[in-house]
């Protein structure tokens, strides 16, 4: 168990390191923030001075080394655009992303799983057919477009919700529904399929023979055993939501990590990009680890004795 855990943590660290390396090299080949920081009339000498001031004239390896040394001490540098430490920017914005992703997670879990259970219980009926079609079509629609359609219908035409920004629950509804869209459809299809498997099993048949009421069979015997599958997928969902937040936050001008990241990409604000990327990939790695461990707890048949 300990061996498994340490291998997983080490792999996660390597993954995060890999991501910082890709981002580091990538962002520096894509464009330089220098041109956005000097006056349009400045000479080549001014540009060189600025490059030197930012340390961008040093070899890439040296720059990366300095970045790693500082990052290990929790210092990701100062935003080139707003002049505030990148970690402070991230701290200010992480709450908004957690709020949005959390709401979307709960929404997709509740709606997706209950629709899936209903569809499986009434297998082959019109309810099941409708739910399955909703799941299939829902998964095919691009999330960002769903967001824009929601804005069109509920913000522009009906004026029930604000178009963008963060505030009370009314601000949260549209972005949360948008972000949860894909995962809801996925939960629905997954739960339905897992429930169908379980409902065919011997222990469910036995429960029915014993005369257990059907609703109890569904809620207790079947649903509980479906939860193992659902939990595994839930971990992947958190990851999907963190990635999806990048796009959804941009559409709704939701002041979270994702919106910060895309804005920083346009202005080549290196420190902010790095801080945001490290946070997101760490969150991703931690989520998948927690899920793998939970999986073993929920289903004792799975042992983590040996890696792989």
């Amino acid at each position: 168990m300990l061996r498994y855990l340490s291998i997983r943590v080490a792999l996660g660290l390597v993954a995060v390191l890999g991501v910082t390396m890709i981002t580091f090299v990538g962002e520096r080949t894509a464009g330089s923030p220098v041109y956005l920081m000097v006056a349009p009339t400045s000479t080549q000498a001014d540009i060189e001075t600025m490059r030197h001031k930012l340390g961008l004239d040093r070899p890439l390896v040296v720059q990366y080394g300095i970045f790693l040394r500082n990052a290990a001490q929790g210092d990701f540098g100062t935003s080139l655009k707003v002049g505030v430490p990148a970690t402070q920017l991230v701290r200010e914005r992480v709450g908004a992303t957690v709020e949005l992703a959390g709401a979307a997670f709960l929404l997709s879990l509740l709606v997706g799983v209950s629709l899936g259970v209903v569809a499986a219980t009434f297998r082959g009926t019109i309810v099941d057919r409708t739910a399955s079609i909703v799941g299939l079509v829902g998964q095919a629609m691009p999330g960002f477009w769903v967001g824009i359609m929601l804005i069109l219908i509920f913000a522009v035409k009906l004026r029930w919700a604000p178009v963008a920004g963060r505030g009370g629950i009314s601000h949260l509804v549209l972005p949360a529904v948008t972000l949860s869209w894909f995962s809801t459809a996925a939960f629905l299809r997954l739960t339905r399929s897992a429930m169908l498997d379980v409902l065919e099993s011997d222990y469910v048949k036995l429960a029915r023979l014993k005369g257990v009421p059907e609703w109890l069979v569904v809620c207790k015997h079947a649903l509980r055993n479906t939860l193992v599958t659902v939990t595994t997928y839930a971990g992947l969902t958190i990851a999907t939501l963190l990635g999806g937040a990048v796009i959804v936050e941009t559409i709704f001008a939701w002041p979270g990590i994702g919106f910060m990241l895309t804005s920083a990409l346009y202005t080549h604000d290196y420190p902010v990009i790095q801080a945001g990327v490290v946070l997101t990939s760490v969150a991703f790695v931690v989520c998948s680890l927690v899920v793998d461990l939970l999986y073993g707890v929920l289903d004792p048949r799975i042992r983590h004795g040996a890696y792989r």
């Binding site: 890999g18 522009v156 990939s281």
Partner: protein, 288 residues
């Protein structure tokens, strides 16, 4: 035909039912993607400021000249969709093909050699699967700068680990089979075994994964272009159209709506076709 001899097996018909729905959903992408600007009713590079924001034909004030309306620059929405189909088709097919080539190569190599090579390759796969794919795509596209090639490269980089994992797993299983073992005994080289015995048996999985990824690739392309990190004007793509239409929701809803319908149709078609292929090629997974 009562006199059919017992024991004479009728050859199994491989593709029993024709998957009409996925084919119909994917037809526009293929037809318009190949035809491109040659089948579009209007040129999409020509601005027509006399015909900006025309509503679609079924709305009040709409006309047959602009079947699905026009955008703020007077470009015909339907023609833009047709030209955008070409972008989507090229990007998804080339991107997925590249991802497949790399992933299959890595998967077969890792699965048949095992040892240090396998370890190293699979750790790279694990590492990459530890990053949210959309974040990876956004970072890569942001780093490489926009454009058609960037999107293709991004899709290839983001999608190859899926292939590698599946192909490696199947290769490990195939290696235990008698015909591969016999080929080893007969003295076949590794390359010959991979080409003659492994690849033909991996083909169905490769095709299924590829089909499912085609839909995902169309989604990634549109998301990147929507964020301004993918296809750039004067080229056009469905994602770019949605981004353009975003600012005109109150006056011209159709500009952002129709490209989304096109994307949803294409992704749905690819998903259904992939599911169908999986069922047809591997009857044991039917009805899942």
């Amino acid at each position: 035909m009562e006199s059919v001899a017992v024991g004479v097996l009728e050859p199994r018909r491989r593709f029993g039912r024709v998957p009409w729905l996925p084919l119909v959903l994917l037809a526009p992408l293929v037809v318009f993607g190949i035809g491109g600007k040659h089948v579009a009713p209007h040129a999409v590079t020509a601005f027509n400021l006399d015909a900006t924001l025309q509503p679609p034909v079924f709305m009040h004030g709409g006309a047959w000249t602009h079947l699905l309306g026009s955008d703020p620059l007077g470009r015909d929405t339907f023609s833009l969709l047709i030209v955008g189909a070409r972008t989507s088709l090229i990007i998804s097919v080339v991107g997925v093909a590249l991802a497949g080539a790399v992933g299959v190569l890595v998967g077969v190599a890792a699965g048949s050699r095992r040892g240090a090579l396998d370890e190293a390759l699979m750790r790279i796969v694990d590492m990459q699967l530890a990053v949210p794919p959309i974040l990876l795509a956004v970072l890569l596209a942001g780093a490489l700068g926009g454009g058609l090639r960037t999107v293709i490269a991004t899709i290839a980089v983001a999608f190859w680990p899926t292939y590698a994992r599946i192909v490696r797993g199947e290769t490990l299983a195939l290696k235990q089979r008698d015909f591969v073992q016999l080929a080893v005994v007969a003295g076949s080289g590794q390359v010959r075994i991979a080409r003659k015995h492994l690849l033909p048996n991996l083909l169905s999985s490769i095709v299924v994964v590829g089909t499912l990824q085609l839909g995902a690739a169309v989604g990634v392309e549109s998301a990147l272009s929507f964020l301004g990190l993918g296809v750039q004007a004067p080229n056009t793509s469905w994602g770019l159209m949605i981004s353009d239409g975003k600012g005109y929701l109150d006056t011209a809803w159709w500009v952002a709506t129709f490209p989304g319908v096109a994307i949803a149709m294409t992704v749905l078609g690819a998903n259904l076709l992939g599911d169908w292929l999986r069922d047809e090629l591997d009857p044991t997974t039917r009805d899942r």
